[in-house]
Symmetry: C2
Subunit: 335 residues, 2 copies
């Protein structure tokens, strides 16, 4: 077991200085404190602070995702996580982060110096600095929509994107559609990649061609639609699958602007089932992600990791929510 003395020896400094660094005393330089913490982390040293019942603290880091209002995707995830964690008497910090913050602070060091026992990371992109650090983290970490191979301290929580997209394609095929487009988000996230791969696989499984002209990657915002929908329509699509609900809102708007009716001319399907998706005109057929439960599963996974049970993966079932934006192909008036 690593002691303060080991850290002192390694750095060639006194026990007292190491102690000051670990306890956040103000009479040593910030650079030295950082060095002490980095070394402690590297050597696998754990402060008592992290283990004491009375200092039970978890952090939820959130990036690139709105979460402050109920209509935001992240709102219920944060809520579910807090609800589950508070029950076990954890203090929770919700901390929005960005790439600059990740460049400045090493993940394990940040966790150690703030006395967090574990964290839930939500909304991180594949190229994020902390994502590569997670390959080696020694801190209990639950990760929404991202998977880290072979590190027993990291757990992946999400909704099964493969089954979700396959359910959408199956629904449209059952309605008689075969010219189906897919407007996805950018391929900077694992789930976007999964949904794209799922679309190819599912189209093939249903004996349909996944036409490259009908597959595009924008961003997870409504504005993506106007760049890709006109070409889809020109190519004769009768249905558009969207990487999330926000994209679907944009697709409905753009189709309408160009004189196409939803669902009479074009069927549109989203992914997520945001609160507003039942209020759009027409109401959106979509895949529901149970976000409150995803937040709770995030806590459950973290709880397991902290208790040395290495849960690798927790996936929730996607659920098809049928509303008004999809219609039987045979009911559509085609020239």
């Amino acid at each position: 077991m690593v002691t303060i003395k080991d850290i002192a020896n390694k750095l060639g400094i006194s026990l007292g200085t190491v102690s000051k660094g670990l306890n956040g005393a103000s009479d040593i330089s910030e650079d030295l404190r950082q060095q002490i913490l980095d070394t402690a982390v590297e050597m696998g040293y754990t402060t008592k602070k992290m283990k004491k019942e009375e200092h039970k603290k978890l952090c939820l880091f959130i990036e690139n995702m709105d979460y402050t209002k109920p209509e935001h995707f992240g709102y219920d995830i944060v809520l579910g996580f807090k609800q589950a964690a508070y029950r076990d008497k954890w203090d929770i910090t919700i901390l929005p982060v960005n790439p600059e913050f990740q460049q400045k602070e090493k993940y394990d060091t940040y966790m150690l110096k703030n006395g967090y026992s574990g964290a839930f990371l939500v909304g991180f992109a594949l190229q994020d600095e902390w994502m590569s650090q997670l390959n080696y983290t020694t801190v209990a970490t639950a990760l929404f929509d991202n998977f880290i191979k072979k590190n027993p301290n990291v757990s992946y929580i999400g909704t099964d994107s493969f089954e979700g997209i396959d359910t959408v394609v199956e629904h449209l095929v059952n309605l008689g559609h075969h010219k189906i487009a897919f407007l996805n988000g950018s391929l900077h996230s694992m789930v976007t990649e999964h949904r794209q791969q799922a679309f190819y696989e599912s189209m093939a499984a249903h004996g349909l061609e996944a036409d490259e002209n009908l597959i595009a990657n924008g961003y997870f915002v409504p504005e993506s639609a106007k760049y890709f929908v006109p070409a889809f329509l020109k190519n004769g699509v009768t249905a558009i699958v969207c990487g999330n609900d926000l994209i679907a809102y944009g697709v409905i708007k753009e189709c309408t602007r160009l004189g196409y009716r939803i669902p009479e001319d074009i069927s549109v399907v989203g992914f997520d089932d945001l609160p507003l998706s039942s209020q759009t005109t027409p109401a959106l057929t979509t895949i529901r992600q149970e976000r409150i439960e995803l937040g709770k599963c995030g806590y459950m996974a973290l709880h397991s990791l902290i208790n040395h049970v290495s849960v690798s993966k927790t996936l929730l079932r996607p659920q098809l929510i049928l509303r008004e934006s999809t219609l039987d192909y045979k009911d559509i008036s085609h020239e």
Copy 2:
């Protein structure tokens, strides 16, 4: 909501007879009772019995797996499940089943008539009658080592076989081995298929050829070894990956019988980490499945399903346990 009257109308019998059938009265024929129960299940009728707190009952069905002694693979899974479930005050029945039983009893009907709120199914094979029925079951069902697509009432619990086999191959490659054989169980189970696929993928990922002459499927018993190990040795293998620990015991015995030393001549790796694997000569390097935790996860998944949270998949991390049966290739005396 389906009522007793709906069932009576559908079958053209009286309310009283339906009630007798549902409550197990003895003055109607067994055939008629079965028909009433089958119809009730088919129509989605749920008895109050299943919902009453005072009749909280779960069943653990176990097939094709030893579980009565601590050294058996199933022992800790059953134990973990019971431990977790008893905490929530469930009554648990442990019921060994076989193919004949599954032919005789429909799964949903059996659950309904015995008042079970849910079940954990352990050791089932792909071709089992109940496995196909699970595609449509309305009963909360946790399933060890098997996955059912798109049914929100069924949840898969297991250890990540892909990561497990990849960890083994990586370990052997790091030791300098490249002539690596794989003796797996029969391909009648999902995890056996996963481990086989993982072996091909992992060999390719490490730039090695997965030679068809060095891959074989026996059964998950030590006796499998004698049918395949002689040919492996003739083909010049230096390492043998086994589909489970029982096969590895047989491989060690067969190699020894043929005059090969473990690990000096041949490295051997198992999968499972049974209690006896630390006691073999030499002690077995293997992949650990946390069976107590798998049992607990089985209960947690079932608990979620019963509370209408559709957990699709819970995977635990495999862990490489290094013992004496693997050795650096460069340390091996080769001609």
